[in-house]
Structure formats: structure tokens, C-alpha cells
């Protein structure tokens, strides 16, 4: 956990602890749906205006009431050219945030943004009176707790970034959680994490390494739970850089991916072979995951088939193969294993993969470079449960995560079409976009990885889902 201010720390571990203490205008439900949070309701008088009605009786931990001023202050930190917030990109279409009456906040956009409500789930509301004097020290670990929220759990100590304690917030507006006190430790070494669970020193753990689920499931006195995967592991290729500017090369690699094998060997079976970048779970707001899975069967498929990989490579301009360096972030060791295994598969084709383990920052920097590496591997956790999420961040030219220089007018037209359509009408343009994506293949989806957690016997965790990290999850824990 780096800091409790999401403007500085937008990594999974930090978000997981922030979500206990801080709330947004909306909430993410156990069924992945959007629910009222600090705003009881919202209206959209026109596509560019959103009006939020704040909940009455919400109090910060110090007893002071939530006011529209707090909301305006908190959200404006991410708005505008001058913002240094990590979330500034998500607020790119926001023109202004203003208090428009008692208990009311109005957000004005420069162009329509259907994802605004999702973003407001993790755009945390701070107490202005508390946060403003702190400046850039907001949420930073230290002898004094540098955060003041409305969440169900009050941070009682955050002395160092690896350890945090929380207590139930007695004045919380919602239902009273069963847990009175919590101690959160960040245990980075996966061996130590399992041993801590095994020795009974911790009551539960998130981020059970998928490769290790078998060993975790054998721990006596604890049980593991898994939520179907929404995270996607993918290989990205720079479509303007040889040899990957050749579609046959991209297809050859697609056919060489033994997705089932990787899941079995490296994920302990906790995943599903990915046929697109968008997991079926991501569709839950539009249609049920099973229907989505059926629709996916009609998209271009690339089953593991080494002969077809050979044929594709033979048709390319690099029939005798090539050598390529691929980096993976050391925080995702299983991706390294996938690459090494893929490299072994590609060897007979004359393709040599030099697999390199690098610090996460280096991986990020290279991926974000003006000329991204020919081939990359990555793992993405969703920002919200909507099928357009990954399509918006990965494919359009200039999108935050587009590391392939891919640019397709047809794809962007389909994506624009679903943005203005509502409900079920979005399905066809979305499928159209997916079809283009899977034909052009800038990205090769590898697998949708599950979320796995463990809890001690005698405790139960209700409603574990792929977006648990946006919820005040400690409240889902009870005896049983």
C-alpha cells in the first residue's frame, strides 16, 4: 500500500485499503452493479450534465457532516490541465464540478462520457477542511493519520506503508459491519504469505497467487474462494514495427499460445482461456456472462495448433523466423513462465524469444514509449464492470494503454456507436468492435485470471467478486 490518496496511488493493494476508509459518490455492488453511495441519486438533464443528490446524514470520522464543498474539492483535484492526479486521464472529459445547491453537486462535461458513474466509485471524497491544509501529504503514511473519510472503517494507524489498522466508524451511515477492528499487512513474498495463513497468524488473505492455489487449498483451518476472472493477461504487439507489422506473424503467435496449458500449469486451473480482451464477467451490466460466452464463439478463433502457426509464419515475410526480446514485470512471475513456455513452443519455427525480467517501472516506461517494444506481455485488472472498459483503454489510437500503435477507423466507429446507444443496443456495435480487434490482432488475449482469496475457518466472506477492491470488503466478513 503506497498511500491512501488515490490521486497518487492507483495500484491494486493501495486501492484495496483505500476502499475501506473512503467512499465515492457511487458504490460497486457484490453483483458488480452500480449502487448509490455518497450520492443517493443522479440525473442527467442532458448528455453533458450530471446532477448528483448527496445522501443526508453522512458524517466524517471526526463527526463533521459531508457537504457539497467536500465533493467539489475532492473531485476537482483530478480535473484540468494542471492536475497532477493519476486519475486526471479518467477526468479528461470533465469540464467542471460545482456545488449547485444544498446537498447537490453538478458535473459538466465537454463531451458525453458514459463511464463517469464508474469512475466516481473510486474517486474518493475527502474532508476538505482536513485535506486542504495537508497538500501533497494527504494520505501519506506517518505517525499521524493523514486521511479523513466517511467510510465504514476509520484508519487508526498508518505508520508505515506496509501496515495499517482500522476500526469501525461508529457514525457510519450504512449498515454496521460485523468486524470491529482490522489489521492489514502487506506481505509481498508469496511464500511468507502462505506460511502466515498456514500458521494461523492472519485471518484471511487476498491475492492468493494463482500458481499456488493448490498449496493454499491444502492449508488446514482455512478455505479459499475464487471469483471468476475479470483480469486479462495479454500479449501486445507493435503493429507498425517489424516483424509484427505482418499480420501472419501475429496470427502465427496466436496459434502458438497453449492457453489451456498455461492455466493448468501456471495458474493452478484458476482461469479461463481468453478469446477476447473482455472477459464474459465484464458484460454483467449488459447481458449475462453465459450469453456473452456464446456470442464469443462466433468471433475469429485461434486455437493452439502448431501446424497452423507454421503455415502462417510460412506466409509471412519472416518465414525463417526471427529473434525478439520480451520483458515482463517482476510483479507478474506467471507471465514470465508463459513467455518462457511460448518461447519453447516457437523454437522449432525458428523464432527465438529472449525473455527478460524487469522491475515494474521499467516495463511501464518501455510500454509507454513513443515507439513501444515489438512484443510485450501484460496483465490488466478492470477499472469497472463494463464490456467497453478494456476496449476503451487498449484499442483506440492514443488510448492510455494502447502500446501497439494500433489505429483502426472501423473499430473506433463501432466503439463510438455503442457509446451513444443504451442497454441491449450496445451489444451489436460492441461485438463488431471485438470482431475487428480479433481480426487485426494487435493484442493476443491469453487468459482471464480468477481472483482468489483465503479466509480462516470460522469466518465467512460474502459476495466475493472480481471488483472486491473497490468495495469496503471488510464489511463482507462475518462469523460462520
Amino acid at each position: 500500500m503506497s498511500s491512501l490518496d488515490i490521486a497518487n496511488s492507483f495500484d491494486l493493494v493501495s486501492i484495496t485499503v483505500q476502499s475501506l476508509a473512503l467512499e465515492g459518490l457511487l458504490k460497486s455492488g457484490n453483483d458488480l452493479s452500480l449502487q448509490p453511495g455518497l450520492a443517493i441519486s443522479h440525473q442527467q438533464p442532458d448528455p453533458l450534465t450530471w446532477v448528483f443528490r448527496l445522501r443526508d446524514g453522512v458524517r466524517f470520522w471526526d463527526g463533521s457532516p459531508l457537504t457539497p464543498d467536500d465533493v467539489v474539492y475532492s473531485l476537482n483535484r483530478h480535473v484540468g490541465e494542471k492536475s497532477t492526479s493519476i486519475l486526471a486521464g479518467y477526468f479528461g472529459k470533465v469540464k467542471s464540478v460545482k456545488a449547485s445547491g444544498p446537498g447537490e453537486v453538478t458535473i459538466t462535461l465537454s463531451e458525453p462520457d458514459p463511464f463517469l458513474p464508474y469512475i466516481l466509485v473510486f474517486s474518493h471524497i475527502h474532508s476538505k477542511a482536513f485535506a486542504a491544509p495537508l497538500g501533497d501529504q494527504l494520505g501519506v503514511a506517518g505517525p499521524k493519520v493523514n486521511v479523513m473519510g466517511t467510510g465504514p472503517f476509520r484508519v487508526t494507524s498508518f505508520a508505515s506503508p506496509s501496515n495499517l489498522t482500522v476500526e469501525r466508524h461508529p457514525g457510519y451511515w450504512g449498515p454496521k459491519p460485523a468486524v470491529a477492528k482490522g489489521v492489514l499487512n502487506e506481505i509481498t513474498d508469496t511464500q511468507t504469505r502462505r506460511l502466515a495463513m498456514q500458521s494461523g497468524e492472519i485471518d484471511g488473505a487476498f491475492g492468493v497467487p494463482l500458481a499456488d492455489t493448490k498449496a493454499w487449498s491444502r492449508i488446514r483451518g482455512a478455505k479459499i474462494q475464487s471469483a471468476p476472472g475479470m483480469q486479462v493477461a495479454y500479449i501486445a504487439m507493435n503493429v507498425t514495427r517489424p516483424p509484427f507489422n505482418d499480420i501472419h506473424v501475429r496470427r502465427a503467435i496466436a496459434y502458438a499460445l497453449d492457453k489451456q496449458g498455461y492455466i493448468k500449469a501456471f495458474l493452478g486451473g484458476q482461469g479461463e482461456p481468453a478469446t477476447t480482451m473482455v472477459s464474459p464477467q465484464q458484460w454483467s451490466g449488459v447481458m449475462d456472462p453465459k450469453t456473452a460466452r456464446d456470442r464469443y464463439a462466433t468471433l475469429p478463433q485461434y486455437p493452439f495448433d502448431i501446424n497452423r502457426a507454421k503455415q502462417e509464419l510460412a506466409q509471412s515475410a519472416h518465414a525463417s523466423g526471427f529473434t525478439q526480446t520480451v520483458e515482463f514485470a517482476d510483479s507478474n512471475p506467471e507471465l514470465g513462465k508463459v513467455l518462457v513456455s511460448l518461447g519453447e513452443t516457437l523454437k522449432p519455427l525458428g523464432i527465438t524469444l529472449n525473455v527478460k525480467e524487469v522491475p515494474k517501472q521499467q516495463w511501464l516506461t518501455h510500454k509507454r514509449a513513443d515507439v513501444p517494444p515489438g512484443m510485450q506481455i501484460g496483465f490488466y485488472s478492470p477499472d469497472y464492470a463494463d464490456p467497453a472498459n478494456h476496449l476503451e483503454v487498449f484499442y483506440p489510437s492514443g488510448a492510455t494503454n494502447n502500446s501497439t500503435t494500433y489505429s483502426s477507423k472501423a473499430f473506433e466507429a463501432a466503439l463510438a456507436k455503442q457509446r451513444v446507444a443504451g442497454g441491449k443496443a450496445r451489444v451489436e456495435p460492441l461485438m463488431e468492435a471485438l470482431k475487428i480487434a480479433m481480426t487485426d490482432l494487435p493484442y493476443l488475449p491469453v487468459y482471464w485470471g480468477n481472483q482468489v482469496m483465503a479466509v480462516k475457518d470460522g469466518l465467512a466472506y460474502d459476495g466475493f467478486n472480481g471488483l472486491f477492491y473497490f468495495q469496503p470488503w471488510l464489511g463482507n466478513l462475518r462469523r460462520g
Binding site: 503506497s2 497518487n8 506517518g142 505508520a159 513474498d189 506460511l195 497468524e201 522491475p359
Partner: protein, 334 residues
Amino acid sequence: MSGTSVRARRRRAARVSGRWFTFAVRRIAALVVLLIALSFVVFSLLYLAPGGPEQALLGTRPATPALSAALREKYHLDESFLRQYWLWLRDAVLLDFGDSTRTGRSVSASLADRVGVSLFVGGYAFTLAMVTGVPLGVVAALRKRTVLDRGVVGLAVVGVSAPAFVTGVFLLYVFSVALGWFPGFGAGEGLADGLWHLTLPAAALALSVMALVLKLTRTAMIHALDQDYVAFARARGVPERRVIVRYALRNALVSVITAAGLVLTVVLTGSVLVEVTFALPGLGSLLVDAVENKDLPMLQGLMMVIATVIVLVNLAIDLLYTLVDPRVRIGSAA
């Protein structure tokens, strides 16, 4: 004793202490030069990092024009290289190394958070290594070249030949998971709880240092037992136990303590792996964390602080040693 000889001795003492003083000044001056050279290397890291200083200071944060401008301003990136170094050095002397790019917390505060655990584990491991290494070294020296000697030294060497993270995981399995005697992670609160929590990490660390202490003691002991004064003491009929403890061991310990700086370096080195293995919030795990996140201000602060500590400890030992043992020739310090 006659008056003149007392005066002569005093004069000699004054001359020695004067020489000691110049020696100390020279050593301290050399140390300052050394630390400045080191600081230059550490500062240059910022420029050697792929992508340049701005990228390095951004860490894992995405570059926005506003953030870049703020960083350029804060770290004086628009100044000349030497001026930047000077500004950095001026702050560094006051222990201001900037803010962590990952947590936003000031580097010195982050170091202060972590230093306690590292000192505790390091001190504990140092004590364990001394308490076990010195007696075993004495035993090995007394039974020189017997099976017992070979066995004791051999086992200690296995300890130093196993990477600390392996020893750590091994101890975790046996004493935390299988036997349940010690907790598997966490630093504990207060002294008693801390001791209980940090026994396994300290033991893992001590195992990697013990061989060094043992070998040093053994060599020094063998040397001491060979000296004339020991032979004279034995000839005078001083009991063997007294000969060993009062005559040989006391002299042997002087050279063991001289090596304390070396032991400290090894302890600090091993602490990285042990802290990661046991998930302890110390300086070692902070270093690995900083590397993982390319948190350069943090790395710079860590390296300067650790190097300074080692240099100071070595200096203190050197100065003490020359005071204690006047046989050491001052001036040819190596």
C-alpha cells in the same frame, strides 16, 4: 621509580596521543573525501537511469505536463548538472533526500520508520552470531585439526554457503509452521514481543555471519595460544582454564572485535534477503521495494545512509583499536 622516568613516560604519552590525534584527523578527512565521492556516484544514478532523471523521478506515475513541471522545479532539473549535484548534496547533508516517488512520504521519514526493525534484527543477529561463534571458534582452536574442529567449521561453512532466503524459508517451515514455536511474520511490539517475533529472522541472519565470527575467533585463538606469554603462563603453572580465558581469549577477542565492521557489512547485506523472506518492514525490504518501483530518491537516501553507517562504524573501530593496542603502527593504516 625516579621522577625523570615518570616525566619521560608522560612526554612519550603526549607524543603518542598527539600522533593519534593527527592520525584521527587524517582518517576523518579521508572519510569525508570518500563520502563525497560516494555521494557523487549515488547522485549520478539519477542520470544513469534509463529514460533520464525526469522519468526516474516519475517512478510508476504516468507523465502529465503538470507533474513533470512540478518535479523539474522541485529537483532543480533545469539547473546544470554540477549545480544540481551541489543542491542535492546540500540537502542530503541535512538528511533531506526528497520524497519517495511511490508513497509521497519524505525519504528521511521513511528511513526513520524502517531503521528500528533493521537495527533490532541486525543487533539481535550480531549478538547471536557472537554468542555462538566465539565459543565454537575457541573450541575449534583448542581441538585444532581434529574431527571436532573440522565438523564445527564445516557446519558453519554450510551456513554461510546457503543463501539467506533459503535458510529463512527453512527456519519458517520448521519453527513456525511445523512446530509453531515462533510467529512467521511481523516485527512485534515492545521488547519481549519483538524478541519473540524476530528470533527466526535473526537466526537466519546469524547463520550467515556465524561462520565468519567462528573462523576469525579460531584463527586469532590459534595465534594467541602460540604466543610466548601463553607458554610462560603455562610454565608458571597457571591453571589451563585461566590461561585460555584470561590470556589467550582476551587477546584473541581484540582482533575479533576489529572485524566487527566486516561482520556488520555482512549482517546488513544478509538483512535484505531475510527481511524480504520474513516480510519485515526494515531497510532491506525497503531497498528491494525501491528497486521494484524504481524509487530513485529512496534508493539514493538508502545507499547514502547505509554507506555512511558502515564507514563511521569502521572508523570508530579503527580509532578505538589504535588506542587500545599501541602495537599497531600508526601511519601505515591500510
